[in-house]
Symmetry: C2
Subunit: 195 residues, 2 copies
């Protein structure tokens, strides 16, 4: 009956949960921990959310959606493969930087999703990875990248680097997300490029 206030409170719950899941992991985070963080009783959480896993679902699928939108923007552009790859990397970093906490949960805790959510999530992820792989393949086909590179290794190295960023990136530091994306892209792409 108070949709705005409820929404806002619900978001507070989800954001607090994200912090908790990031720090302790999903399985080791209890609803009582979460309630305490918010200054309420555990039972009261269920006025705002359906279940513990419901929170994880929101976090994982909202992030997945942001990544998808970012990539679609890049794919529309009329650019060379290496420029698209570069923009894809920058976009990914920017999406993560907007919410490092949710990004860390997305990366480390998605495996605690139950079926069919887990399957859906993994399908989204493999689709996303394959679209980056296509950019690399395009780059090889167009003569921008070395034809000898192992495509699976290249794309997995790329994703490893991207996905670990929430572990060490300091948003208070003087490297802004766009710069980080450019530097990372530079380091990886110039490793792929013919010199």
């Amino acid at each position: 009956m108070e949709p705005v206030a409820n929404l806002s409170r619900k978001e507070q719950v989800i954001r607090s949960a994200a912090q908790l899941f990031r720090e302790k992991g999903y399985a080791a985070s209890s609803m009582r921990d979460l309630a305490q963080k918010l200054g309420i009783e555990a039972a009261s959480l269920y006025s705002h959310i359906k279940s513990k896993e419901g929170i994880l679902q929101s976090l994982c699928f909202d992030m997945a959606n942001e990544f998808r939108k970012s990539l679609e923007e890049v794919e529309k552009q009329k650019l060379s493969a290496s420029e698209k790859l570069r923009n894809g990397i920058i976009g990914h970093i920017q999406v993560m930087a907007k919410d490092l906490t949710a990004s860390a949960v997305f990366m480390n805790e998605h495996r605690h999703l139950s079926q069919p959510y887990l399957r859906d999530f993994l399908l989204l992820r493999i689709n996303y990875i394959n679209r980056f792989k296509s950019m690399i393949e395009d780059g090889i086909r167009m003569g921008e990248f070395k034809p000898t590179i192992d495509k699976k290794l290249a794309v997995m190295t790329l994703f490893s680097s991207l996905n670990w960023m929430p572990m060490w990136y300091d948003p208070e530091g003087d490297v802004v997300p766009t710069d980080l994306g450019e530097q990372l892209s530079d380091m990886l792409v110039n490793g792929l490029k013919k010199n």
Copy 2:
């Protein structure tokens, strides 16, 4: 009283636990799950191990020790910075490939260590990372690597790539660990090197 048999059984327990921790995560793995995997009662596990966390401690510190030994071998060698870095990467990959399950646990579950083990573990890790960082700094000083690279970014990208390897590397495939290490090194180092 039967040290050999006990040791072997203890190792079976630890290896089964590693598989379980890798699949479900440490916190979501119960001692009853583990006992079932071994065909015994949960209470019987405690004849072989001290506690659930004791298993995690063995797994994490044994792996840390393997990594340390591998790096010490490399540091002894009289080679250029880029060759040392290459050998360090190959060594790291080889250590992981010897036990991908323990490697995955080492990487993803160490945060469930309690104090003071967690602190000790993190000190070992930062030390290991800093020694790789020194190789990169040496390479810059000796003119082998671009002076413009961000050292923190470079070393973090390196470790991201290394640490995610257990997530996607297929030991049944036709890429042997040494080759993988060389390819990975090639991809990363050639991205750093002056061309």
